[in-house]
């Protein structure tokens, strides 16, 4: 257990602060477990730093752009440094909600109906003129999400056609590409999946918020949101939700850990909203909560992820 580990955190994504929180906790957990560990706030000296301080494993506690979208994963592949979490392809596809949903559809994994539009389509092609058709096809309300952004940043909901342009401007501030998605009314749940060969789903977490959806503020503000483990759903639905999460993990070729966000409609049908390849590890994050419900405490969870990497190395 003398492996040297660098925890990558911070960076310049909009989720910098969340990442620092995740990173500090991961660092403490690894130290407690006896690893030689140091923290690296990611900046333009990352490669240089990693070259000067060779490590056995990089723990990626980054969220958002560059940390979760395959960028840092590709760099680590080039440098030959093993890292935690899904590889380049899975990260790339998982971070792009539009691409991930396209793949889910092709693999018969249910996901809410959607369209993808880019800032360019509005500026260069007059896409605004087609919004009537979007509404006719998806119905209302419509959820508008930046295609590549985590922590629910920039997610807007339009209840009427009049609210759509405002919601689009909002979401397009966070990414040049947005997903317009049919709103599924029901129970919001989140399932974390661990492993690669025979991935295993952790208990289903139900997120019950006073707000219309689990937005950034409720995610990180205590008291606004209630969580239930397992989710208050019938046994067979819970099983269905876990199966679908494992399938989503598998079709995107994921390994180590992912967190899949799912809406379950009134008839018990699950719809995959997105797959996260670098789930939050803060004090109020869903993955550690779900692991705890299964008796895996935080430091064991972190060590398990490192063990996955070491097993791959051997």
């Amino acid at each position: 257990m003398n492996e040297k580990i660098a925890v990558l955190m911070g960076g310049r994504s909009l989720e910098r602060d969340v990442s620092l929180k995740s990173g500090h906790r991961v660092y403490e957990a690894l130290r407690e477990k006896g690893y030689e560990v140091f923290k690296l706030d990611v900046d333009e000296n990352l490669v240089e730093n990693l070259k000067q301080n060779p490590v056995d494993v990089v723990y990626i506690a980054l969220h958002g752009k560059y940390g979760e979208d395959g960028t840092v994963q590709e760099l680590l592949e080039i440098m030959g440094i093993p890292y935690t979490g899904p590889g380049v392809y899975s990260s790339h596809v998982g971070f792009d909600k539009s691409l991930a949903k396209e793949i889910f559809l092709r693999k018969d994994i249910p996901t809410p109906d959607f369209f993808t539009l880019s800032a360019g389509s509005f500026r260069e092609m007059g896409a605004a003129g087609a919004l009537d058709d979007v509404v006719a096809k998806l119905g209302l309300p419509i959820v508008v999400k930046p295609a590549g952004q985590g922590s629910a940043l920039g997610i807007k909901i339009a209840h009427s056609v009049e609210e759509l342009p405002g919601a689009l401007i909002g979401a397009l501030s966070y990414d040049d590409k947005v997903v317009l998605e049919k709103y599924i009314k029901g129970t919001e749940v989140s399932v974390s999946v661990l492993g690669e060969e025979n991935p295993e789903a952790l208990p289903v977490v139900e997120i019950s918020t006073k707000k219309e959806f689990f937005d950034f503020e409720s995610m990180y503000t205590m008291g606004d949101t209630e969580y239930f483990i397992p989710a208050r759903l019938p046994e067979d639905v819970l099983k269905k939700v876990q199966d679908i999460a494992i399938r989503a993990h598998t079709v995107l070729d994921c390994r180590d850990v992912t967190r899949i966000d799912i809406m379950v409609d009134g008839d018990g049908n699950p719809y995959v909203l997105e797959l996260n390849t670098s789930p939050g590890m803060t004090e109020t994050s869903l993955l550690p909560m779900s692991a705890a419900a299964k008796g895996i405490d935080f430091s064991d969870l972190v060590e398990m992820l490192v063990e996955f990497v070491l097993a791959r190395k051997r």
Partner: protein, 423 residues
Amino acid sequence: MTEFRFDQWLELYATRVNKMRSSEVREMLAVAARPDVISFGGGMPDTRVFPMNQIVEATQRVMLREGHAALQYGSSEGHVGLRRHIAAIMGEIDTGIGVDDIIITDGAQQALEFIAKIFISRGDTIIVEAPSYVGALQAFMSYEPEVVGIPVDDCGMRTDILAVELERLRREGRQPKFVYVTPNFHNPAGVTLTGARRRHILELSEEYGFVVVEDDPYGKIRFRGEDEIAMRSLDERVIYVGTFSKIFSPGMRLGWVVAPRAILEKLIFAKQAANLCSSSFSQHVTDEYLSSFDWQKNIDDLVDLYRERCATMIGALEEFFPEGATWTKPDGGLFIWATLPEGLDSGELLAESIREAKVAYVPGRAFYVGVQKNSSLRLNFSYCPSETIEEGIKRLGAVAKQQLALYRSLFKGYSPGKDKNKK
């Protein structure tokens, strides 16, 4: 089935803790701390241009002469020598103000916290400007008041609206506890309250029986024109809050309050409970600095620098900001308040601005209670050198123009219901 608790103490916290919220804006501004981001976000003086040798000398003299006192607890009211200097500074406002009318606090921020603590019970009504200094709102909100915001125009708080609101509150049987104003070079709006309106607020305070809190951090940072009369010089019942943070150093954490005796006594209780006394070390060094050096000249130099940077920022806004945007042209202070055309949301623009332009600022919504959408930006000009200001405004302007083009294509290309009417 179990309900999961992230925080096992959730049931035990005081209700006021629920008012402390994380926000997207704070999250995004965390990125602005990075060196590659140009930040117009803070309200920082440029300490890089401070006369370091003077401060070194002041510190050395204090330590050699009275080091034991500088390292010891002090009185809750504050170091007498420093209070004498404050009384002299306050002499411009009222020559009758003496050492005993002043207490020293840890920056003006602590004074605001104390004022909230001694006046606000849960559910009490207080009145603030809308927009208002975000730190004051934070200090007030933890005591769970009902906040009434009065709009601000180019002449400061709209006292005509204040009068209407006071009458409404009276009908509802609500007694406002205090009215909080930043009359000089308002943060964030950059405007100065006119003399007539200052008098109007004082008349209203007489009629409706509330306390006036006059927060004046920027009064001495004036680029041009004449000072308006301080509200405290018109009425001794005003609570005046001052600070060394903009005229000397925010790192010293020293501010002060001038208040009527009865209120001052309550503030001293609050001070004792909070931290016994402000840093003796800071107070002695500041006292020595004010005694031995031409601090007024140092302020004049700072004012010259800020005047130039403010002009640079206004020039850059004229050159690079989209048509239809407006901004204040302050006569002092640290901030310009710019407003985007057609109701573009400055909070959303911040995401784009950090992402694309690596420029940060504080979006307008931060300065209101309960407002989600706002098209203004608070831009600080005191901290960045002129070249950086120009570059930052150039990049920010480009992002704003891009956002505006998108906005126009969306709202012009799509007018719901219009086509249907034609048919």
